[in-house]
């Protein structure tokens, strides 16, 4: 059994490492530094940590001002308040200007669990990827989260990094290459392709393992970068013999599924796509595992969708 680490803990660790190597790194939070783990940076570098209080719009504005004064500014709060409450500040002060602000939003998606719908942001990827110049990252585990946060710090310009609340299995090893904009193929298979983003990756991998036991070979791709999306990886999968299942802890509109469908439509590729994620429906209170099952993004749901897709493909491509 792999170690389980929440990607917000990876964030806290990465921040402390970045703070040591770069005196220009500053971190801001909006009264959630204990939860987002930006508090780890505060402990190590109190002079470079700024609390905005419960004021997410001002959090983003302050981060922007620091960025335009030569700092690499990390701004963290929950995904709901970062991208929802402060959307227009992100749009006009950060994205439009190309400010060097790294928005690190934790507690994204249903993984929030018991807090319920008001705190389960299922549209943040959609909101952020619509902004010109915004890089959108959604790491699946501890290793990829730390590597992507460091890569974000090294690049100029705004980045949205989506982080989860719940501990999730570590999938990658420290030697793995994680490059912004490049999807990672974790399982080979030609019957069906499962495309995953963020914390549901371990569910996708579990589904692939269960499918293999039944003789279905499923490829699994981790789209840790939603924007810029890895078009080549999508094209390769869409030209294969099987269909595609996308899975995300997000509304099916505007997220990974949409991004994949856009590329396929543009390329004129017509394989069938099953999009798993929250349909036209808000979240609710429950344990993350229960919610993943209820909303159809757990391993069993992914397996079922892949099985149905394989059956459909076989029926529709039979001579």
């Amino acid at each position: 059994m792999a170690d389980k680490i929440a990607t917000r803990d990876s964030y806290g660790r990465a921040l402390v490492e970045l703070g040591a190597s770069d005196p220009n790194v500053v971190v801001l939070d909006a009264d959630l530094s204990g939860s987002t783990k930006s508090g780890e940076f505060k402990k190590a570098y109190p002079d470079r940590f700024f609390n905005a209080g419960i004021a997410e719009c001002d959090l983003m504005g302050m981060a922007t001002g620091l960025a335009f004064s030569g700092k690499t500014a990390f701004a963290s709060t929950f995904a709901m308040f970062a991208t929802g409450r402060a959307y227009e500040i992100i749009r006009n002060s950060i994205a439009y200007t190309g400010a060097n602000v790294k928005i690190c939003a934790t507690h994204a998606g249903l993984s929030v669990g018991e807090d319920g719908a008001s705190h389960q942001c299922l549209e943040d990827i959609s909101l952020m990827r619509g902004l010109p110049g915004m890089t959108v990252l959604d790491p699946a585990d501890d290793v990829s989260a730390r590597k992507l946060i460091k890569a974000a710090a090294e690049m100029q310009g705004p980045v949205y990094i989506r982080l989860g609340r719940a501990a999730v299995p570590v999938v990658y090893s420290e030697d793995d290459d994680i490059v912004i904009g490049k999807a990672v193929k974790l399982r080979e298979g030609s019957d069906v392709t499962i495309m995953s983003t963020g914390n549901v990756l371990s569910e996708a991998l579990a589904a692939a393992d269960q499918l293999a036991e039944e003789g279905i070979r499923a490829a699994v791709l981790d789209f840790h970068t939603i924007k810029p999306i890895d078009e080549a990886a999508i094209i390769e999968a869409a030209k294969g013999d099987g269909g595609i299942v996308t899975v995300e802890d997000h509304f099916v509109t505007g997220g990974l599924g949409s991004a994949v469908a856009e590329v396929m439509a543009k390329q004129g590729l017509g394989c069938k796509v099953k999009m798993l994620g929250a349909q036209d429906r808000f979240g609710e209170s429950g344990k993350p595992g229960e919610l993943y099952k209820e909303y159809g993004i757990d391993a069993a749901s992914i397996k079922q969708a892949a099985t149905e897709l394989c059956a459909w493909t076989k029926m529709n491509t039979a001579p």
Binding site: A52, A55, C57, D58, G61, M62, G65, S93
Partner: protein
């Protein structure tokens, strides 16, 4: 710059504002004219800046939080030598660097892109945090009085006081009018001075068209330690042009040729 020269420059900038908005046949003359004296004082006397090196390290910064007063900012930048004065007539045209609201990535000298009210002051707080960390540069932000109806202004006001940002000076251009009419009718903002005081700011109230008072206030702000300063400047919308003065109808309307000629002549210029 001599105070008489500053007063003349403010009138020149007012003429530029009329030319810009007339040429673009679009823009906001009223609130640009009301803040012309303040912007002139900043760009020609108060701020440590270099038109030949707009991104100079350690410089003072100006954030036009009331971004719709872009014509006043553009006029000051052009007169100060950041870009050719002839370009002022391209305001709001396709491919112009003089966007409807200031865009820092298009025009050198613009320290922050603004236009959506309330955001500039918050960014200015971030800049002042950096100036405190780095020990160099002051930050000036200009707000409209209608703008302070935005909640974000007060989030930023709280932060600036909390962090003791004495390198930050905000000016409220209190002309009493906004798009839908008088502040008092749309949404009361008074007393502005007491609000900022209650938020922990050093507050100075002045006549925003009296150049000596403006200069004295900026100097007093520099001397104040441990807290940010808010200058509440009593102004007239459309100041200097008889038919625009104190008239909310000239918030965002361009003059026709006859009106532009009269305005520029009233301001001591030649159309």
């Amino acid at each position: 710059m001599e105070i008489t020269k500053l007063k003349e420059m403010a009138q020149t900038i007012r003429q530029d504002i009329i030319r810009e908005v007339y040429s673009g046949n679009s823009g906001h003359p009223g609130g640009s004219l009301s803040c012309a004296d303040i912007v002139t004082a900043l760009y020609f006397e108060v701020m440590n800046i270099d038109p030949n090196d707009p991104a100079m390290k350690g410089r003072d910064r100006f954030v036009l939080s009331k971004g719709h007063a872009a014509p006043a900012l553009y006029a000051a930048l052009a007169e100060r030598g950041y870009f050719p004065r002839e370009e002022l007539t391209t305001l709001r045209r396709m491919h112009s660097r003089l966007q409807g609201h200031p865009s820092m990535n298009k025009l050198p000298g613009v320290d922050m892109s603004t236009g959506s009210l309330g955001q500039g002051i918050s960014v200015a707080v971030g800049m002042a945090l950096a100036s405190k960390l780095d020990g160099q540069g002051r930050v000036y932000a200009l707000l409209g009085d209608g703008e302070i109806q935005e909640g974000l202004v007060w989030e930023a006001a709280m932060s600036a006081a909390h962090y003791g940002l004495d390198t930050l000076c905000a000016v409220v251009d209190h002309n009493g009018l906004q798009i839908d009419g008088r502040n008092d009718d749309v949404m009361k903002v008074n007393p502005i001075d007491e609000k900022f005081k209650a938020f922990g700011w050093n507050v100075i109230c002045i006549d925003g068209h009296d150049m000596q008072q403006i200069l004295d206030a900026f100097e007093a702000a520099k001397q104040c330690k441990g807290k940010p300063t808010a200058i509440v400047a009593e102004t007239h919308k459309g100041m200097g042009v008889s038919f625009m003065m104190d008239n909310a109808g000239w918030h965002g309307k361009a003059p026709n040729e006859e009106q532009a000629r009269q305005a520029i002549e009233e301001l001591g210029g030649v159309f």
